[in-house]
């Protein structure tokens, strides 16, 4: 292989005049972090609501939860992003569609919301399983005390269920961050996008993607460590998750 290694490429100015190649990658990294966190917040909010719906005695609630989960988890993420970004504006009334297309940062919002909703289905399934794993008596005890259904979830079921599903939830957080790379296809120049631009401008493909890999690894190590810390600090003494 005839490849010219050049590790100092990161300190050379990138075309565009905004700084070095390293700076370019950092911009991408920052966008990846923003998209990931925004998407994760959406996933947590909708996933929690839908996860709870799936455990309520109401048939209607169950079916809403069921439909939500099956819609968002049975389609490839890439297809979903295309749907939100390219198809949705065409389906809406003309003026709305136009507004959507001209919205500044449209790729960012589309990616964050699209990935967030996709991940919410997974959070919902895990939370539903977490709640279902609690002894039936817990809900009965909350009810017998006079707590309403909402209070029972708020003060009893959810605090325990979230602790139980903390480890798989960590994986979902990591997946959310990694899935932001798909947003390159709708024009979001996040970390993978910037690595590709760098490769196109400088032809240093290995350096560019090595750097991107290391950066992804770093964020995820930080997330894993943070989640582990959270898990430990929330552990219930003597209870299953407590060590």
């Amino acid at each position: 292989m005839n490849y010219n290694w050049n590790w100092s490429i990161f300190f050379e100015p990138a075309p565009g005049g905004t700084g070095t190649y390293f700076h370019m990658l950092l911009t991408g990294l920052w966008l990846t972090i923003q998209t990931g966190i925004f998407a994760w917040i959406i996933a947590l909010i909708f996933g929690s609501i839908v996860g709870v719906l799936r455990t309520l005695p109401s048939k209607t609630a169950y079916w809403i939860g069921f439909a939500w989960v099956e819609f968002f988890r049975n389609m490839p993420l890439l297809v979903q992003l295309f749907l939100w970004f390219f198809v949705l504006p065409e389906l809406l009334p003309r003026s709305w569609g136009l507004w959507l297309k001209q919205m500044p940062n449209a790729p960012f919002y589309t990616a964050a919301i699209g990935i967030g909703l996709f991940m919410s289905a997974r959070v919902a399934v895990q939370l539903g399983a977490g709640i279902a794993s609690l002894p039936r008596g817990q809900k009965q005890a909350a009810t017998a005390l006079g707590l309403t259904t909402l209070q029972g979830y708020r003060y009893v079921l959810l605090p325990i269920a979230f602790r139980i599903i903390m480890p798989p939830l960590t994986s979902e957080f990591l997946n959310t961050i990694k899935n932001t790379a798909v947003a390159i296809t709708i024009g979001l120049i996040e970390l993978t996008g910037q690595a590709r631009s760098m490769q196109e401008f400088s032809f240093q493909v290995f350096e560019a993607f090595t750097a991107a890999t290391v950066m992804y690894l770093l964020i995820n190590i930080i997330v894993v460590t943070g989640m582990r810390f959270l898990e430990r600090s929330l552990a219930i003494p003597g209870y299953i998750t407590g060590k």
């Binding site: 008596g137 009810t143 006079g146 209070q151 003060y155 602790r163 209870y239």
Partner: protein, 243 residues
């Protein structure tokens, strides 16, 4: 205080769990419900505070019809204490927090007021040193005493016990029964599902014997232990009293 009139209950379309059950518990009365497993005694007691719905008949609690859609169930349940076979303390809350939750969120007491009441009741059940532990750090007998204190913290007009000692090791049964005997002697209205015939002999006013969803025998304590009228009750008694 508690009136149960011609109650029928089915689980699913075919299995009838309660068959035309009628009985009542007067204010200050202690009624023990016994019978073989699967006889419907736990189901009956869970119908009293509507943890389980009934399909026919009526249950009236302190003048309020339980199975009336217009009844504010959480409010009604808050006035009846319930103790479960498996304690069902909330594992993520400290002992004292378990006692405060209902008082604050349901009765609207201030935190200080709830803490004071909680501390008093913990002292009463002999566990004031454990206020800041978590449920999993206590023995079964201690947990059940906390559960009784939690129910008493709501100032209930009646207490329901669903096999409060069946999940306990033998040496812990008496510490729980002692608390219950004290309660009965203070004039608390109690409905107790249990196989502890010693407890029934000591404090019960009446004993109800159930089999296959029916109330087979509903007698004054002395009559029940003296000469059970039904064959089934006689057989049951001879089995559990033979050892």
């Amino acid at each position: 205080m508690i009136e149960i009139n011609h109650v029928n209950k089915w689980y699913g379309p075919t299995f009838q769990a309660l068959k035309d059950c009628t009985t009542k518990v007067a204010k200050g009365e202690v009624v023990v419900v016994c019978g073989p497993s699967g006889s419907g005694k736990s189901t009956l007691i869970k119908c009293v505070n509507a943890l389980e719905p009934i399909q026919e008949g009526e249950i009236i609690l302190d003048g309020i019809k339980v199975n009336d859609p217009k009844t504010d169930l959480p409010k009604l349940r808050a006035r009846v204490g319930m103790v479960f076979q498996h304690f069902e303390l909330f594992p993520h809350l400290k002992i004292i927090e378990n006692l405060c939750l209902g008082q604050e969120k349901v009765l609207g007491r201030s935190h200080d007021e709830a803490m004071a009441k909680g501390a008093k009741l913990l002292d009463r059940v002999g566990l004031k040193d454990h206020a800041n532990k978590y449920p999993a750090e206590l023995s079964g007998g201690q947990q059940q005493r906390v559960a009784i204190a939690r129910a008493l913290a709501m100032d209930p007009i009646a207490m329901l016990f669903d096999e409060p000692t069946s999940a306990l090791d033998p040496e812990m049964i008496s510490e729980v029964l002692d608390v219950m005997v004290d309660l009965a002697r203070e004039g608390m209205t109690m409905m107790v599902v249990t196989h502890e015939m010693g407890f029934a002999r000591k404090v019960a006013h009446r004993v109800i014997f159930m089999d296959q969803g029916e109330i087979v025998e509903d007698a004054q304590k002395d009559d029940f232990f003296g000469k059970p009228r039904s064959d089934r009750a006689q057989k049951f008694l001879s089995k559990i009293l033979s050892h």
